[in-house]
C-alpha cells in the first residue's frame, strides 16, 4: 500500500483532487470574508450553497449551458443572502437566528423544488452538462504542474484569482477601507459619512453570489447531477475556513487547501481499499475542522463588530 501512496500518479491525482475539493470552500470562504469583514456573520452558508447547487444544476439541465447554470446559482445565492441582509441589517435580528432559519429553509426548499421539477424517481437520474476543463495554452503542456494547475475547471481559476483580487480590494481600495471600518466600529464609520447599511448589503450580496457559485461547482463541476443535501456540510466548513484563515484572503486559501487535501486523501484511501471502515475515513475532514477550530479559535480575533446588529439613532 505504501508504494501506491508514494507513486507519482497517486500524488498528482491527490493534489488535483485537493484543488477541486478546495474550490467550493474557497469560493464560499472568500464570499463569507466580505460579509464578516463588514460585520455580518452569515451562518446560512450551507443553505445558500445548497440552493446555488440546485439552481445551477436546474438551469444547466434546462438550457444545456453550464455557464448559465453558474450564473443562475450565483443569482439564487444572492436572493437567499438578501433575506439574511434584510433580517440582520434592516431589522436588526440576531444574525445567528437568521442564519439558522436560512439553513432550515434552504434544506426544505431544495428538496421540494427538486421533486416538483424532476419527480421523486431514483431510477432515471437527471443530469446536466458539466463544466469542461480549460487548458491554458503553453502552461498546460508543462510536465506535472501543467496537468495539476493549468488544465482545471474554469471556476478553479476564478476561485484562486479571487484571492489576490480580494486582498487588493480589502487593503488597497477605498471600498475595502470602508468594509473593514464597518466590521470594526460601525458607529465610527457612520460618523464619517459611510452608509454602513449600504456597505453591508453590498457585502451580503457578494457572500451570496460567491457561495451560490461555490454550490454550482458541486453539481456542475465535481459531479453532474443533484442529490439531496449535496453540500454535506461544506458550507459549515467554509465558515471554519474563514476563522482558520484568520479573516485574511491568503489564510483562507491555505485553510481551504488543507481541507481540500484532507477530503481528497480520504477519498483516495477509500479507493485503494484500506482496511479501515469507510465511515472513519469520511470523518477526517470534519474531525480536522473541529480540531483546528479548537486550536486556533482562542488566538484569532475577528472583526470587532462581527455579528452585532447596528441600528442608527440608538
Amino acid at each position: 500500500m505504501w508504494e501506491v501512496l508514494a507513486s507519482t500518479t497517486f500524488v498528482i491525482g491527490l493534489l488535483q483532487a485537493a484543488l477541486r475539493t478546495a474550490t467550493p470552500l474557497l469560493l464560499a470562504g472568500i464570499g463569507e470574508l466580505y460579509g464578516e469583514r463588514s460585520g455580518i456573520l452569515n451562518i446560512g452558508l450551507e443553505g445558500i450553497m445548497l440552493i446555488g447547487c440546485l439552481f445551477g444544476f436546474m438551469t444547466a439541465n434546462m438550457t444545456g449551458v453550464p455557464a448559465l447554470g453558474i450564473l443562475a446559482g450565483g443569482a439564487a445565492g444572492i436572493v437567499i443572502a438578501l433575506i439574511h441582509g434584510v433580517l440582520s441589517i434592516s431589522l436588526g435580528v440576531s444574525q445567528v437566528v437568521s442564519g439558522v432559519g436560512i439553513n432550515i429553509l434552504c434544506t426544505g426548499l431544495s428538496l421540494t423544488i427538486y421533486r416538483a421539477v424532476f419527480g421523486a424517481s431514483y431510477s432515471d437520474l437527471p443530469r446536466a452538462p458539466g463544466m469542461t476543463p480549460v487548458q491554458i495554452p503553453l502552461l498546460s503542456d508543462l510536465p506535472v504542474i501543467g496537468t495539476l494547475l493549468f488544465s482545471q475547471l474554469p471556476l478553479v481559476y476564478i476561485a484562486f484569482a479571487l484571492v489576490p483580487v480580494t486582498w487588493f480590494v480589502l487593503y488597497r481600495s477605498e471600498l475595502g477601507l470602508k468594509i473593514r471600518a464597518c466590521g470594526e466600529h460601525p458607529m465610527a464609520a457612520e460618523t464619517v459619512g459611510i452608509h454602513v447599511a449600504r456597505i453591508r448589503y453590498l457585502c451580503v450580496v457578494i457572500t451570496g453570489f460567491l457561495t451560490g457559485i461555490g454550490g454550482t461547482f458541486l453539481s456542475l463541476g465535481l459531479l453532474n447531477f443533484f442529490r439531496d443535501n449535496m453540500t454535506a456540510g461544506r458550507g459549515w466548513i467554509a465558515i471554519a475556513v474563514v476563522i482558520f484563515g484568520r479573516w485574511k484572503p491568503t489564510g483562507i486559501m491555505g485553510a481551504a487547501l488543507v481541507f481540500g487535501l484532507a477530503s481528497a486523501f480520504q477519498m483516495r484511501l477509500q479507493a485503494i481499499g484500506i482496511d479501515v471502515p469507510y465511515q472513519f475515513l469520511l470523518m477526517i475532514p470534519y474531525v480536522l475542522t473541529m480540531l483546528i477550530l479548537i486550536v486556533t479559535y482562542g488566538r484569532s480575533a475577528g472583526p470587532a463588530a462581527l455579528g452585532k446588529p447596528f441600528i442608527k439613532e440608538q
Binding site: 477601507l177 471600518a181 464619517v192 459619512g193 439613532e313
Partner: protein
C-alpha cells in the same frame, strides 16, 4: 452684531416617549468658544448630534452662516464644515491614524487609497496647529489623549471650521487638558468656532466665552461666561442648591484591612496590566486610586474582588491570605465590589429589583429554606432597601432595565453596602450619574468610612478623588506612579504621574 455661524431654532428630538431635546434655541458666534453645560441626560449631546447629522430633528430649523440647512447625515455636516469629536471616540483601533483620518472621504480621481499623500497633509496640519500625531501609528496603540488629537485632526482634515467637542477632558490628564485648551484658544483666535459640551464648571469659567445651560432637555439660560460663577451655574444645571465640597472630617484610622503585596498580572495579549502593585487600606480610610481610565485600575479592583487572578503577588484581608480564594469566600469575608460597568457586571437587567437586591444572599437564611425561596423575607428586605436607599421604582418586581441609571446604581450600592462590608471596592461608582445621585453616593461612602469600613475608591474624576480620599495613589500603565496624603496632594505632580512622566 455679526451674522451667527450656527443658529438653531425650536429644536425638538424625541426617542419614543422621551423628549430628549425640547424646543431649544442655540446661537453660535464666529471665533468664540461656546459651552453647553448640563448634567448627563440633559440633552447636550443629542442637540449637537442634530447639528452633526447623526440624528434627525423632529422639529426645528437650522441655519448655517445665515443659510437654511437640512443636515441628513454626517456627510452633510462635513459639507457645511461642521465636525464633531464624540465623547466615545469614533476611531477604529485596528486601523492607522492616516487610515482613520481619510476614512469615508471620496477622492475623485481613483478608487484606490492614497495613504502617502494623506500622511503628508496630516503632518502639515499637525504642525500648523501644534497637534502632535504620527500618521502611521496604529490607533489601538495610542493613549486616549493622543486619540483625541487624531479626532481633532480628522475634523481639520475635513476642513471643519465649526468644531463640536463632547466632554473632551474626561479622558485627559490635567496637563493634557491645559494643552488642549491652548490649542482651542489658538483655533478660536484663527476664526474657528468651537462648541464645548461639558458638565464641569471650571471648564466653562476658564475657557469659554459664552455658556448655555441645559436641564431635562430644555434650555435654562444663555449668558457670557464672564458674568457667571460656580454656584449660579451649578444651581441652574441641577435645579437646586448643591454641595460642591464635603467635610471629610478626619477620623481615627484603624488597622490595615485590605492589603496587596506586589501583585502583577498580564492580559491575554501578553501586555502588563498590573505591575508590582503594593497597597494598604486601613479601617476607616478611603484610599483613592486616580489615573486616566484604562491604566490598570479596573484590573486592580477585579483582582481584589476575585474576578481575575494575579500572576504573582498576594492579597490579604485582615492579615489572612485570600489570593487563591473564590469570590463567594471573599463575599463571606465581607468584601463588597461595586463594578465600573453596572450593565455588564453589576446587575441582571431583565430581573426584578427585589431579585437583584437579594442575589448575593439568596441561598442562605432568611432568604432561603431547604433550597426554596422565602418570598416574604425577600420582599420585606427589598422594600426596606428600596425605601432606605431611596431607589425610585414603580414596584419591587420592576425589571432593573427600566430604572434610570442613578437608581440602578443605588440598587447596586444597596445590595453591596447593606451587608455592612469590611472592605468596599468601588470602581467608578458615580460614572455617568447626575449630580444628585453623585452627591448621595459620596455621602454613602463617607458614612461607611465613619463606620470603619476600608474603602478602595477608583475614579477618573480627580475632583472626586480629592474630595473623598484620605490618601491617594496614581496608576499609570499598571504601575503605582505616585502616592500621597490628600492634605499634602500636589495637583501638578498627580497630573504628571497620570501621564507617566513623573520620575
Amino acid at each position: 452684531m455679526e451674522q451667527p455661524v450656527v443658529e438653531m431654532k425650536g429644536m425638538v428630538k424625541r426617542f419614543g416617549s422621551l423628549t430628549a431635546v425640547d424646543r431649544v434655541d442655540f446661537t453660535l458666534q464666529k471665533g468664540t468658544i461656546h459651552a453647553l453645560l448640563g448634567e448627563n441626560g440633559a440633552g447636550k449631546s443629542t442637540l449637537m448630534n442634530l447639528l452633526a447629522g447623526l440624528y434627525q430633528p423632529d422639529e426645528g430649523k437650522i441655519r448655517i452662516n445665515g443659510e437654511a440647512a437640512v443636515i441628513h447625515s454626517p456627510r452633510d455636516a462635513y459639507d457645511r464644515k461642521i465636525g464633531m469629536v464624540h465623547q466615545h471616540f469614533m476611531l477604529i483601533p485596528k486601523l492607522t491614524v492616516a487610515e482613520n483620518i481619510i476614512l469615508g472621504l471620496q477622492t475623485r480621481s481613483s478608487p484606490l487609497l492614497n495613504i502617502k499623500d494623506a500622511s503628508g497633509q496630516i503632518r502639515e496640519l499637525s504642525q500648523r496647529f501644534g497637534i502632535q500625531a504620527d500618521p502611521d501609528a496604529l490607533v489601538e496603540e495610542l493613549t486616549s489623549g493622543e486619540q483625541q488629537r487624531v479626532e481633532i485632526l480628522k475634523m481639520l482634515y475635513r476642513n471643519a471650521d465649526i468644531l463640536i467637542l463632547d466632554e473632551p477632558t474626561a479622558v485627559l490628564t490635567p496637563q493634557e487638558v491645559s494643552s488642549l485648551f491652548q490649542v482651542l484658544r489658538k483655533m478660536a483666535g484663527q476664526g474657528f468656532s468651537i462648541i464645548l459640551i461639558t458638565h464641569k464648571l471650571e471648564e466653562v469659567l476658564s475657557l469659554c466665552d459664552t455658556v448655555d445651560i441645559l436641564r431635562d432637555g430644555k434650555k435654562i439660560d444663555s449668558r457670557p461666561a464672564s458674568e457667571s460663577d460656580r454656584n449660579s451655574l451649578a444651581r441652574m444645571m441641577v435645579g437646586r442648591e448643591v454641595l460642591l465640597e464635603y467635610d471629610r472630617l478626619s477620623g481615627e484610622q484603624g488597622e490595615t484591612v485590605l492589603e496587596t503585596k506586589g501583585i502583577s498580572a498580564k492580559g491575554s495579549d501578553g501586555r502588563d496590566l498590573l505591575q508590582d502593585i503594593s497597597l494598604q487600606v486601613r479601617a476607616g480610610e478611603i484610599l483613592g486610586v486616580a489615573g486616566v481610565s484604562g491604566n490598570g485600575q479596573s484590573e486592580l479592583a477585579k483582582t481584589c474582588a476575585g474576578l481575575r487572578r494575579a500572576d504573582s503577588g498576594s492579597i490579604l484581608c485582615s492579615g489572612r491570605d485570600i489570593t487563591g480564594t473564590s469570590i463567594a469566600q471573599r463575599i463571606r469575608l465581607g468584601i463588597s465590589y461595586i463594578p465600573d460597568d453596572r450593565h455588564a457586571l453589576g446587575m441582571f437587567p431583565g430581573m426584578g429589583v427585589a431579585d437583584n437586591l437579594v442575589v448575593k444572599q439568596h441561598d442562605r437564611p432568611p432568604f432561603s429554606r431547604r433550597g426554596f425561596r422565602r418570598e416574604s423575607a425577600i420582599h420585606s428586605s427589598a422594600d426596606k432597601l428600596i425605601d432606605s436607599y431611596n431607589i425610585r421604582t414603580t414596584s419591587r418586581d420592576t425589571s432593573m432595565r427600566s430604572l434610570s441609571g442613578g437608581n440602578q446604581q443605588k440598587a447596586v450600592l444597596a445590595r453591596e453596602l447593606s451587608v455592612s462590608p469590611q472592605v468596599i471596592i468601588a470602581d467608578q461608582p458615580t460614572r455617568g450619574l447626575d449630580v444628585g445621585a453623585i452627591e448621595y453616593i459620596h455621602q454613602l461612602l463617607l458614612e461607611h468610612r465613619r463606620r470603619n469600613a476600608a474603602v478602595l475608591l477608583i475614579s477618573t474624576e480627580l475632583d472626586e478623588i480629592l474630595n473623598l480620599s484620605d490618601r491617594i495613589i496614581v496608576m499609570y500603565a499598571g504601575r503605582i506612579t505616585y502616592t500621597c496624603d490628600t492634605d499634602s496632594a500636589d495637583i501638578e505632580q498627580i497630573g504628571l504621574a497620570m501621564a507617566g512622566e513623573l520620575q
